[in-house]
């Protein structure tokens, strides 16, 4: 599930090294240089092939069989059966599909916007601003499993969130059992996920903000631009490549939602929070249907690939 992140991230990372300009070197030196380049790329390439390329190819092959995790019978080729089953006779798969997209559709814009807002706030030259950066960043470096367990307690019927609601509204409103109620469970997980990950994207936005030269702002101010005009015409265009990176990484991370579900709700209540990755793990590993799990993973892979390509196309540099 981390597959696409690694494929896309290096391309869209701002500031990748410029191609070498020293063309006039001797042929021998060039060969030596390329040899050391291969040597340097070898460890990464080896690991990528071992843990990325081979599993993807295996998943592709397995998804057309009825392979099982535990079975005395050899796997058998079943053609497109697994894919037909996913779309026609597995309501949980369809529900997972919908939940995954609802989650991504909410998380991507909200998290990106919130992160940008926080980045602008902590980009001020004020005393103690480092503290705020640290505080916003703390959830990112905390294990998501720990965070899920803590929020699980907070979301309980008699947990922290409900007693806060109770106190703040003087008892006028009663919270629900957030994770046990099918209509609030996914929303509750969206809130916690944004809270956890927003700090990371804040830092990325911040690094983008700091590459915009101060002179541009000075010039804009001399032209009489107000704060909103400065943001619209100086900051936002200057953040373009950062925006592309953030858009792609949040989308992929959101589509791969798994840990929070696994720790907090196991897909329930009533499939309200099941997601594609969670369903693939449940089918492929816990219920031991490796072939079917591989088919779900392959569907997921294709979807993520298509979305990433569409995003690349929409945000391409137009010259």
């Amino acid at each position: 599930m981390a597959i696409p992140t690694q494929q896309v991230a290096p391309q869209s990372l701002p500031g990748s090294p410029p191609p070498s300009r020293r063309r006039r070197r001797g042929a021998a030196a060039a060969r030596g240089g390329s040899r050391s380049a291969y040597a340097m790329v070898a460890p990464a390439a080896f690991l990528l092939v071992l843990f990325l390329v081979i599993p993807v190819l295996l998943a592709f092959g397995l998804s057309f069989t009825n392979a099982r995790l535990i079975s005395p019978n050899p796997p058998r080729f079943v053609g497109l059966d697994n894919f037909v089953r996913a779309f026609t006779s597995d309501p949980t798969f369809v529900r997972s599909f919908i939940n995954t997209f609802v989650f991504a559709a909410v998380v991507v814009p909200v998290q990106a916007a919130l992160a940008l807002f926080m980045a602008i706030l902590v980009n001020q030259k004020l005393r103690g601003v480092t503290w705020f950066r640290v505080i916003f960043f703390v959830p990112v470096v905390t294990s998501i499993v720990v965070i899920s367990i803590l929020w699980d307690f907070m979301y309980q019927g008699d947990g922290l969130i409900n007693s806060m609601i109770d106190t703040l509204t003087f008892g006028a409103f009663q919270g629900t059992d957030w994770l046990g109620n099918p209509s609030t469970a996914l929303g509750a997980i969206i809130v916690l996920s944004i809270w956890q990950a927003v700090g990371f994207h804040m830092i990325i936005w911040l690094s983008g903000l700091q590459t915009i030269p101060e002179e541009l702002y000075e010039a804009a101010r001399m032209d009489g631009a107000n704060a909103w005009q400065q943001f619209k015409d100086v900051t936002w265009p200057g953040l373009r490549s950062t925006m592309v990176f953030i858009l792609v990484t949040i989308t992929i991370a959101a589509l791969g939602l798994f840990v929070q579900i696994d720790v907090m709700t196991q897909g329930g209540p009533r499939n309200a929070t099941t997601t594609l990755v969670f369903h693939a793990v449940r089918k492929g590993y816990r219920e031991q249907e490796t072939g079917y799990g591989a088919a779900i993973s392959l569907i997921f892979f294709v979807i993520v690939l298509v979305i990433a390509l569409v995003q690349r196309f929409l945000t391409r540099e137009k010259d």
Binding site: P72, Q156, E287, E289
Partner: protein, 434 residues
């Protein structure tokens, strides 16, 4: 910034070096499929347990192993313990890598699956031992014995005698248990008497607890997890009218607030008198006995029509198919089924000893001992979960369906979906050999 990133690099390099070193270490210590010749001419028998962290249980194993190793000089048993949560994964991974130990323990209902998959071989220890054990402490698949255990567990309803008497509720017996209507009425009475949630049914727990605790109730109502005549479909068993009736009642427990899925796993609420009745296992009995004393009642679960039922089969021992020294493993197992060891397991962990002899040696389960009622419950009411290789899937599907119903899903359609899911799985496995 650059100093920071070089520090990060250094930390990552150090971390990966540690991991690699650890892998190398693990590789060296790995004893392969067990049965390697040791340095001094003895054959090593590797043994995996799921009991890491359970000191009481490990202490007994350590003693058995020490006694066995000292009693002969042909074999040497070496134990490795895993935490229960990761244990099945370790076995599956070990089997995939062809690296299982000689001796391994396993939860009763998974035995058919592992036997079918060829992980374990027929047990082959003496019939005398097998015949002396509680039937639910023996794991069978296709009429062949594959595993045997030292104990079984049992579920019951815990209550305080004073609370029942005060509220005019009849104390049920094994011969005359509560009917489901009586049980329901008792819960309503207790709720009116001031218990906000009168019953702790254990719904906050997850995993195997669900089929272990609630599928016997379903059987008592006339339903089942699967059609046990053919083992090919769950249709009619899991979604028939009896099952729907049972789950309607189950759902209404939560709707009416008679039970809930919040709270802590274990028996704390009962011990603190926050709930009046608790549906829980023998392993919690000592704590409740300490908290409640003579007032504690250990009652049979209610009768849903076909008589009360409780789940049987706990952790049992088997021999892996790849074991090179299966004779040694058998010798060890036969040695370990001595009454004094079984009694020690029972008393240390508060579980029911698997033989009558050990029962008498035990300080808790013998005639007249406080936990003796559990022995009777286990003998009278224990049913086994379906002995089919499809069980892991059935278990997972059942848990999800029952939880959805608890959360208010439509009963009939949820059960129909569950049946479809189980049947699809059985078909894609060509009937699992049935």
């Amino acid at each position: 910034m650059s100093r920071k990133s070089s520090l990060t690099m250094l930390a990552m390099a150090a971390a990966s070096a540690t991991v690699l070193a650890a892998c190398g270490q693990a590789g060296q210590n790995d004893d392969g499929g067990g049965g390697d010749a040791g340095g001094d001419g003895t054959t090593e028998l590797t043994m995996w347990t799921h009991s890491a962290g359970n000191e009481a249980e490990l202490a007994v194993y350590e003693q058995i192993i020490a006694d066995f190793n000292a009693s002969q000089d042909q074999y040497e048993v070496v134990m490795e313990s895993f935490p229960q949560g990761a244990y099945n994964d370790a076995i599956v991974a070990g089997a995939a890598a062809g690296d299982l130990p000689c001796l391994l323990d396993m939860d009763g209902p998974i035995v058919p699956n592992w036997a079918w998959a060829g992980y374990i071989q027929p047990l082959g220890i003496s019939d005398e031992i097998i015949d002396s054990l509680l039937p639910t402490a023996v794991g069978r698949y296709q009429d062949e014995v594959y595993s045997a255990g030292y104990w079984d567990a049992a579920l019951s309803v815990f209550a305080r005698e004073s609370v029942l008497t005060e509220n005019g509720i009849r104390v049920p017996t094994v011969d005359e248990p509560w009917t489901v209507d009586e049980f329901d009425a008792a819960l309503v009475t207790l709720q009116d008497a001031g218990y906000a949630t009168p019953l702790d049914i254990g719904a906050e727990d997850t995993g195997e607890w669900w089929p272990y605790a609630y599928s016997p109730m379903l059987q008592s109502a006339g339903g089942d997890l699967i059609d046990r005549d053919t083992f090919l479909t769950a249709d009619g068993a899991l979604n028939g009218p009896e099952a729907v009736e049972f789950f309607d009642w189950f759902q209404s427990l939560f709707e009416r607030g008679l039970a809930s899925d919040s709270g802590t796993i274990g028996n704390e609420e009962f011990n603190n008198d926050e709930v009046a009745l608790s549906y829980t296992g023998v392993w919690n009995a000592m704590d409740s006995l300490d908290a409640v004393g003579d007032d504690l009642l250990i009652l049979p679960p209610p009768d849903f029509g076909e008589g009360p039922k409780i789940g049987g089969a706990s952790w049992q021992w088997g021999i892996s198919d790849s074991c090179d020294a299966a004779d040694g493993a058998r010798e060890y197992l036969e040695f370990s089924f001595k009454p004094e060891y079984i009694a020690q397991f029972a008393d240390n962990q508060v579980v029911i000893p698997a033989t009558a002899e050990a029962e008498e040696l035990s300080e808790m389960f013998g005639e007249g001992d406080p936990l003796q009622p559990f022995v009777e419950l286990s003998q009278e009411f224990a049913v086994e979960r379906p002995p089919t290789p499809a069980y892991p899937v059935i278990s997972s599907v059942f848990e999800r369906a029952a939880k959805d119903i608890m959360n208010g899903a439509d009963v009939q359609s949820t059960l129909d979906d569950a049946v479809q899911e189980i049947d699809t799985n059985i078909q894609s496995n060509d009937g699992y050999g049935f």
